[in-house]
């Protein structure tokens, strides 16, 4: 009897502890979001979107940084996504269980969790040293390299969910594999691939470390891709670390913008994948 009681008590303690652990996790989420919302909204104003980043002590906005972030993210996604999608297609449709595919899959997983600052060093050597100066192009390349493995992984996973009978049906009508893939399988996996794309954008838009020594930063407006370009993450970093209250306010506002953007993207991606009954693994 006493042993049974002891076991029951252990059981109760363990489950109370697990509930507390979950509560701590959720409380941390709330604490971070609350800080972000209260500081971010306090600093929010229309001038954020109409004015350039200011000199210390004067008022300004984040227009050039927002533009830079958008431009580099779009470029990076345009570079990284097609390659990632094609590589994922090879893994799912052509190579499947070949040795090459096992290796590619493994290396892709490593790239997926490799420190992004290392990618920054790589692009610095590859692009910045060649061009002789920091540039938006280098930043976009770095972001593209980070987006690519996400696309490889999700494309493969999503294509694997398409039933084999659809491929057989298409092949029975005499279609070459590429026709089957582009006209039957891609449309069938559309929502899953879209989820992957959104996750890739979300992953890339918060990245800071690889931009530090590729795109660097720019106090002024520039639309030229071969010049250093301002971008939200690096501006937030620089402004938050500064001793000037004006700059710190702008940093909070920028942080709220980015986080809001990323969270909305992840929630959309998540609801698409639950809506269509497909399972994406966002974290890894």
């Amino acid at each position: 009897m006493s042993m049974l009681r002891r076991r029951r008590i252990t059981n109760a303690i363990a489950f109370i502890a697990s509930t507390i652990a979950t509560a701590i996790g959720l409380a941390l989420l709330c604490a971070i979001l609350w800080t972000l919302l209260s500081n971010g909204f306090a600093a929010m104003s229309w001038t954020l979107f109409t004015q350039m980043t200011p000199a210390p002590g004067s008022h300004g906005g984040l227009l050039n940084a927002i533009y830079g972030s958008l431009a580099m993210t779009v470029l990076g996604i345009l570079v990284g996504t097609p390659i990632g999608m094609l590589a994922g297609t090879y893994l799912a449709e052509y190579g499947r269980h070949s040795k090459l595919c096992t290796v590619v899959r493994f290396i892709n997983d490593v790239l997926l969790s490799a420190p992004s600052i290392i990618i920054g060093l790589f692009v610095y050597t590859l692009v910045v040293l060649r061009m002789g100066h920091f540039s938006a192009i280098a930043g976009a390349v770095a972001l593209g390299i980070i987006a690519m493995p996400v696309m490889v992984r999700t494309t493969e996973d999503m294509l694997n969910l398409v039933p084999k009978s659809m491929r057989d049906g298409s092949a029975g009508l005499g279609a070459q594999p590429w026709r089957t893939i582009t006209q039957i399988i891609y449309p069938a996996a559309r929502s899953g691939i879209l989820t992957g794309l959104l996750l890739a954008i979300a992953r890339v838009s918060g990245e800071t470390a690889p931009l530090l020594f590729t795109a660097l930063n720019n106090q002024f407006w520039t639309a030229k891709l071969n010049e250093p370009m301002a971008n939200l993450p690096v501006v937030i970093f620089q402004f938050a670390m500064s001793p000037y209250p004006d700059w710190q306010h702008l940093a909070w506002a920028g942080a709220l913008l980015i986080t809001g953007f990323v969270l909305i993207l992840s929630i959309i991606a998540r609801s698409i994948s639950t809506l269509f009954g497909q399972h994406a693994n966002p974290g890894e």
């Binding site: 489950f15 652990a21 590589a87 490593v110 420190p115 918060g206 937030i236």
Partner: protein, 323 residues
């Protein structure tokens, strides 16, 4: 008539086959590009690190001096910071993640499961720079004014363990960075744990319940041993993240190239040193030393991530076989 159709068909089939060749080659090249990318990263790091490695040899890893003025560089300080902050992060994150995974697979009513796991996973989508400013402006002051003074006066005098809590409360330093990292890796570790717990065969669990086991007995004595490899894989995946995390740490680590036993002291990590010093590094040897730090970090994370993936891969295969 018939002959013309036949010809047109042949032309069509040939162009289809050619398109197939092009498409297939394009996908193959893209797949090979993944491999080339990793090779390129390794080569670029070695190329950049070469001057420093040639100058300092293996002594680079153990050298404690980091002095841009005399051009002497050693990685021991940043390496120590990287390892210690990651270990603190695991020490906090692993029990919490375990609790969360148990809660979500066992305790939680099913209607709450979705919202709660979404909440925990949202932690993973917050950009690391936001963790950085939160750590600097919210967490660090709390630690500096309440937690650290308490640790210094209550735990500091104890033998052995007290050595870890000496010196003034800076607010920023190894402990703060470790805590921020813990929050960041929490969603990754807990989601892997949850997945592997869910993979445990129901028949095993039911058999244990049939023998009169409590829920906790089943979790600890049946599910845990069954999913050990996956749990370790998940923890190492989290470790890989923690080792390489840059921006959040850069905000709260304090950027001091020194090794101190006290966890309250400012320090630096490999990634923070690179992020802080790279654009300001003058002189080829200085830049090269930072590349060598990058190479060191890459080797470290590669080993950790690769073994994590291998463990998880083996479990996936095992899971399929068992199912």
């Amino acid at each position: 008539m018939d002959a013309i159709d036949h010809k047109a068909l042949q032309v069509h089939l040939r162009s289809e086959a050619r398109a197939e060749g092009v498409f297939r080659t394009a996908t193959l090249i893209s797949a090979l590009f993944v491999l080339a990318l990793l090779a390129g990263v390794i080569l670029a790091l070695i190329y950049g690190a070469w001057p420093a490695l040639k100058t300092f040899g293996f002594g680079f890893v153990s050298g404690q001096k980091w002095n841009p003025v005399t051009d002497i560089y050693g990685a021991a300080g940043p390496l120590y910071g990287t390892v210690v902050t990651s270990l603190i992060a695991l020490l906090i994150a692993v029990p919490l993640s375990f609790g969360i995974a148990v809660f979500l697979t066992e305790t939680c009513p099913s209607w709450l499961r979705g919202p709660i796991s979404t909440g925990i996973e949202l932690l993973a989508s917050i950009p690391s720079i936001v963790y950085g400013i939160w750590g600097l402006f919210v967490l660090a002051p709390i630690l500096q004014h309440t937690v650290q003074p308490w640790l210094i006066s209550h735990v500091g005098p104890l033998p052995y363990i007290g050595k870890l809590f000496q010196g003034p409360p800076f607010g920023i330093g190894l402990l703060t960075a470790g805590i921020v990292l813990a929050i960041m890796v929490l969603p990754f570790i807990s989601s892997v744990m949850r997945e592997v717990f869910r993979m445990a065969p129901a028949s095993l669990k039911e058999a244990a319940y049939g023998l009169g086991a409590t829920q906790w007995n089943v979790v600890w004595d049946v599910v845990m041993p069954w999913s050990r490899a996956g749990v370790i894989g998940g923890i190492m995946l989290g470790l890989g993240r923690a080792l390489g995390e840059t921006m959040a740490v850069t905000f709260v680590i304090g950027n001091a190239h020194r090794i101190s036993t006290s966890l309250l002291a400012p320090a630096t990590t490999i990634s923070a040193a690179i992020a802080n010093e790279f654009t300001e590094a003058v002189g080829d040897l200085y830049t090269s030393a930072l590349f060598a730090l990058g190479l060191l970090l890459f080797v470290l994370t590669f080993i950790v991530i690769a073994s994590a993936r291998l463990l998880l891969l083996r479990l996936e295969r095992g899971g399929v076989r068992r199912a």
